[in-house]
């Protein structure tokens, strides 16, 4: 962040800072709203209330529900008995939970790996293209990025439609027997399509962000390396990579988080294909258990596993940000 506007916590007010001016900290020079002590707190209250209502309280309720026998009867007003960790023992003892968890982790791993590798490659490519091609590629990447997850999934569903889809049409034209082939009613090809959608939507953000980071590397350094005889791989490894590594790690954490909680793509393809048991990931399973079959307690326990995984990744993410002195 811009240093100077915000002096670091603990700095003596009035003491000269590296940038010379510390407007917010000087008594009597508080700018527009500076003098009132309680004001900053008042200004954050609406945000805190909104976050508490839409996120905090639902999160607390989730924890409470996960320790309750909360089912259909409770829907009609019966009190929910506390069952301690029974919901967790139930799901951890269920082999289906481990199956879904493993599936989610594998899906996430594949999606993140493909997205990051392809995204980095596209970022490098963006830097090497001429202006016309670079603009054309940027615009088409933007199209993929801007498309809402739901419409994107619906469109891909149409592209892979068994009867009139363009993929089956093209494969049949090429001599393969794909007429009427249903992609989404068999788990393996189901996940192939889902993976394609997630990666297709994920690449642009990674590519743009890494490309931006690469343009921050001074041209002179690159040229010096080239003059010294470094191959393009060596230049990438020894010059580009160290420059983009911090942001790469952050992107990795973000992508992992996003791909672990993937819901819309899976849910919509499940509605098209009809195989839910063999294609559930954590998100869809929690939804189907909790909201679908009204086992709110068990659903909440599954959802908390998701929150736990996200939390682990978040702590890593925030630690990275502290390291980079962004807070």
């Amino acid at each position: 962040m811009t240093t100077g506007v915000l002096p670091e916590e603990g700095m003596v007010p009035g003491e000269p800072t590296p940038s010379g001016s510390t407007p917010a900290s000087r008594p009597g020079r508080g700018g527009l709203l500076g003098r009132v002590k309680a004001l900053p707190y008042a200004l954050t209250i609406p945000a805190l209330v909104a976050l508490a209502a839409g996120l905090g309280w639902p999160l607390v309720r989730l924890v409470i529900m996960s320790t309750q026998d909360y089912g259909l009867r409770q829907q009609f007003g019966a009190p929910a008995p506390n069952v301690g960790l029974d919901n967790f023992t139930e799901i951890f003892g269920d082999s289906y939970f481990w199956e879904v968890l493993r599936r989610s982790l594998v899906f996430c791993f594949l999606a993140v790996t493909l997205t990051m590798v392809a995204g980095t490659a596209v970022a490098v490519l963006l830097g090497k293209l001429g202006r016309v091609m670079r603009t054309a590629l940027s615009v088409s990447l933007l199209l993929a990025w801007a498309t809402p997850a739901l419409t994107a999934t619906v469109v891909w569903q149409w592209i892979f439609d068994s009867r009139f889809g363009v993929v089956n049409w093209a494969l049949t034209k090429l001599g393969f027997d794909y007429e009427g082939h249903s992609w989404v009613s068999e788990p393996l090809s189901f996940f192939f399509v889902a993976l394609l959608i997630v990666v297709w939507m994920g690449i642009p953000f990674i590519a743009f962000t890494l490309h931006a980071a690469m343009t921050q590397i001074p041209d002179e350094v690159m040229e010096a390396a080239a003059i010294d005889g470094a191959s393009s791989w060596q230049r990438f490894r020894d010059v580009t990579w160290p420059g983009i590594k911090p942001i790469f790690v952050v992107l990795l954490a973000l992508s992992t988080m996003w791909d672990l909680r993937v819901f819309t793509q899976i849910y919509v393809l499940q509605q098209a294909g009809g195989v839910t048991r063999d294609t559930n990931l954590l998100g869809t399973w929690a939804y189907r258990t909790g909201v679908g079959s009204q086992q709110f307690g068990k659903g909440a326990a599954i959802a908390l596993v998701m929150v736990g995984l996200a939390l682990l990744l978040t702590l890593f993410h925030i630690r990275q940000m502290f390291k980079q002195e962004e807070i």
């Binding site: 407007p23 909104a50 596209v122 091609m133 739901l150 931006a212 992107l251 980079q324």
Partner: protein
Amino acid sequence: MAVVAPVKVPPVVAPAKADRGRRRPRRRWGLNLIALVLILLSSFPVYWMFTTSFQTNAAIRSPDQELTPVGGTLHNYRSVFDSDNFTTAFANSLKVTALTVVLALAVAFLAAVAVSRFRFRGRVAFLVMILLVQMVPAEALMISLVKVLEGWQLRNTIIGLTIAYLAFVLPFTIWTLRGFVAALPVELEEAAMIDGASRWGAFWRITLPLVAPGLVATGIFAFIQAWNEYTLALVVMIRPEKETLPLWLQSFNYGARGTDWGGVMAGSTLITVPVIIFFLFVHRRIASGLTAGAVKG
């Protein structure tokens, strides 16, 4: 400047690079070819959605597909407007989106001023909390959100859905606006006050207009989020007359069961086009906001 660090557009091929390119024309061609394939892969779905939406059902079902747009009919769009609930869903989407944008901007701006203009106890904690809550998966909260909103008698209401959306867009909007406010020198406000403006006068005439681009960018972000959102709407708005556009599209798609791709693509186009247009304006800020200051300028 981290949060709003502009994604720098690299300079038009530097002379040295042009030299390198000239030395290896074959390699340039190879790269262009790869780029061309990527362009096709990346834009094909959007292109295909658009093309299909203007085709007759006969052309869509013909065994010989046309990859280039031929002919054209508005029939699919008519069937969308005639379908159950489209106009209601459109109105619902507009309402919840507008409400989310307005509230998010107001609330986030106040918080952004607090964290970028004041040093106060708990400031760092507040910022860390913003980052933390940003990572809570909405998909995990679906279940309890239903119960919470039912308890407040707000399930199936615009207000209820807005409460949920607001919480999920706030972290990003606060973080991004914080960058904009922090970039504004306090001296500008002070100068206006020395020249005789009141505090609020200085705020209205100086601060607000200067932060306006930031408000527009974050407002568009909130718009896109609320307009696209599917997961939370799926559990909050379960009555047909309360559907938002994404919910409408999926019931239309599911109901058609692969028989009306023209209509489904017309619906998809209607939902997607405004988002793409807005997106073109703000994608740079979204990129830098999502990584929350990870790019050090």
